[in-house]
């Protein structure tokens, strides 16, 4: 009885892990094979030419570069905006704190569809539509709640006495900020930057609505290919698209145990 229960447990766990690697295997099978016709259960002819062609395609390269550039811009800007806000939210009690929280969390409630459609007109008018900066600005909306939440929960555990001690020892405000505050916050800052990067990197709707066909990122390219392209190029693009997230999640797996739930929905 006990033994069959164990076998069942192992099977379920095996299944759980299979689901995790299955998408990667599936993409790899399609991306690195050719002439894989219908009834054949597994690829018969392996090749790297499709994948190589994909990463040498100028459209793909441009879309990766643009997506990367936007995601970096978004990470830096949302970090700068979040840091002071997260500090007071994590450390201070003040009148209207609840209201500030609610306002900063509005972007997690209002669908990107509605935000993007509304901003589409505004950005067209002020000339931000179709520009890298315009798209980055739009990406900051869904990103901010997550960076603020990550940083403020770190600030809630932050001991300000370290700063006072440095002050008492004669450190300048700048020295305190760099050598004490930033030093202590580094792990959470890294997690926040990675979240921001991920959310921006995988953003489809806001890029489509603000970029207006001029800013092409990998999700945009993948979406249009998936609506009618051949399976091999779809799979190759998918592999390129998930490479950064897969790497990031693998590296930050430990801290995700604390923060994983928070970023769930944005993509």
């Amino acid at each position: 009885m006990k033994k069959t229960k164990n076998i069942f447990a192992y099977l379920l766990r095996f299944f759980l892990y299979l689901i995790l690697v299955a998408p990667l295997l599936l993409f790899a099978a399609y991306a690195f094979s050719t002439r894989w016709f219908f009834p054949q259960p597994f690829p018969v002819e392996w090749t790297s030419s499709i994948f190589l062609r994909a990463i040498n395609d100028s459209r793909v390269l441009t879309s990766m570069a643009q997506g990367l550039w936007i995601a970096l811009l978004v990470s830096v800007i949302s970090l700068i905006l979040s840091f002071p806000a997260a500090r007071v939210l994590g450390l201070r009690k003040f009148r209207g704190r609840q209201a500030a929280w609610l306002a900063l969390f509005l972007p997690t409630i209002i669908p990107p569809l509605a935000v993007g459609m509304g901003l589409n007109i505004l950005f067209l008018r002020i000339g931000l539509a179709g520009s890298i900066f315009g798209v980055a600005l739009a990406h900051i909306i869904p990103t901010l709640p997550y960076t603020i939440f990550t940083l403020s929960s770190a600030f809630a555990r932050f001991d300000e006495n370290y700063e006072f001690q440095a002050l008492a020892l004669g450190a300048s405000p700048l020295q305190i900020f760099i050598k004490v505050t930033l030093r202590l916050m580094t792990p959470s800052l890294v997690v926040a930057v990675l979240f921001a990067f991920l959310i921006s990197w995988s953003q489809y709707l806001l890029t489509l609505l603000i970029g207006g066909g001029q800013i092409i990122t990998l999700p945009i390219l993948l979406f249009s290919t998936a609506s009618g392209g051949n399976p091999s190029s779809i799979a190759a693009l998918s592999l390129l698209f998930i490479a950064p997230p897969v790497l990031i999640i693998a590296v930050t797996a430990q801290s995700l145990n604390q923060h994983g739930v928070e970023i769930r929905e944005q993509y």
Partner: protein, 284 residues
């Protein structure tokens, strides 16, 4: 220094709050203005209710799409919640961070890529169809059941269910693992059966968190575009798909109707989020 009482905390909050409120406010303003047909592009300045009238007309596609969206959102949420409950209860009886790591791994696959994977796996010439053919279950692709891009949204539901189970499982697990007293153990000592423990101890414990989480999931599914656009068909189409198609229509009058649909989605999702927040508060 930074903590000088003269500096209000609002000064630190100002940059982030300004960005969020100005951008959201502006987008809402333009959405409402355009829904009333006040668009500079076609030079119309008199507000009209035409778009609302056309959208909410009894024969409009809006109602079909609303029904379809409700169907995929409710079905996905309910199935994911039930399976997540089972998985969480099973995992909570075992220790180990490995499984929570496994659950977080899901984050590495955005919804878009997850749907693409399902497309490659489940289409009529996909991997499962090939395996079925190898086993002699089917002979041509057309024999394989239509699981993606199907009339009933099966592919969409499959995509959401498999993506949301980990999220809901983590929520339930965190409740189960934060219980200071082993109520479950006490109940077991008092002679409760496995089913009784689940029914009278575990489920009441996790219900508030699970409901709040499920409402969030519902709101997300109801308002998101990529999955139904990729795994759905032309008719019936989900509300967000309808909204965007109207909005990108070359006929500028259709844009107003797109805005109306989008505003209705926003209104519904916001109402659901408020209920979810209230539930989360009551739990404390």
């Amino acid at each position: 220094m930074r903590d000088n009482p003269i500096f209000s905390p609002w000064l630190a909050l100002a940059p982030a709050l300004t960005i969020v409120l100005v951008l959201l406010g502006a987008s809402l303003f333009y959405a409402v203005a355009e829904s009333f047909g006040v668009i500079s592009v076609i030079g119309q300045s008199e507000p009209s209710l035409d778009a609302y009238r056309n959208t909410l007309d009894a024969h409009s596609e809006f109602w079909t799409s609303l029904g379809f969206s409700l169907w995929i959102s409710v079905a996905s949420t309910v199935i994911a919640a039930a399976l997540a409950l089972g998985l969480a209860v099973w995992l909570s009886e075992r220790r180990g961070n490995i499984d929570t790591l496994a659950l977080n791994w899901n984050l590495a696959f955005p919804h878009l890529v997850w749907s693409v994977a399902l497309l490659l796996l489940l289409s009529q010439s996909g991997l499962l169809a090939r395996w079925a053919a190898t086993l002699g279950l089917i002979s041509v692709p057309a024999d394989f059941p239509v699981l993606v891009r199907d009339r009933f949204g099966v592919g969409i539901i499959l995509s959401y269910v498999s993506k949301e189970i980990p999220f809901l499982t983590i929520i339930i697990l965190s409740v189960l693992r934060s219980q200071p007293v082993g109520y479950d153990v006490i109940a077991e000592n008092l002679g409760a059966s496995r089913w009784q423990r689940l029914r009278y101890v575990t489920i009441p414990q996790v219900m508030p968190a699970l409901l709040a989480g499920a409402l969030l999931v519902f709101g997300f599914i109801f308002s998101s575009y990529e999955v139904p656009a990729l795994l759905g068909i032309g008719y019936p189409r989900a509300l967000p798909v309808l909204a965007l198609r109207f909005f990108l229509d070359p006929d500028l009058r259709a844009r107003s109707e797109g805005m109306v649909v989008s505003l209705i989605i926003t209104l519904l999702v916001t109402a659901v989020a408020i209920v979810s927040l209230k539930m989360g508060e009551r739990k404390e």
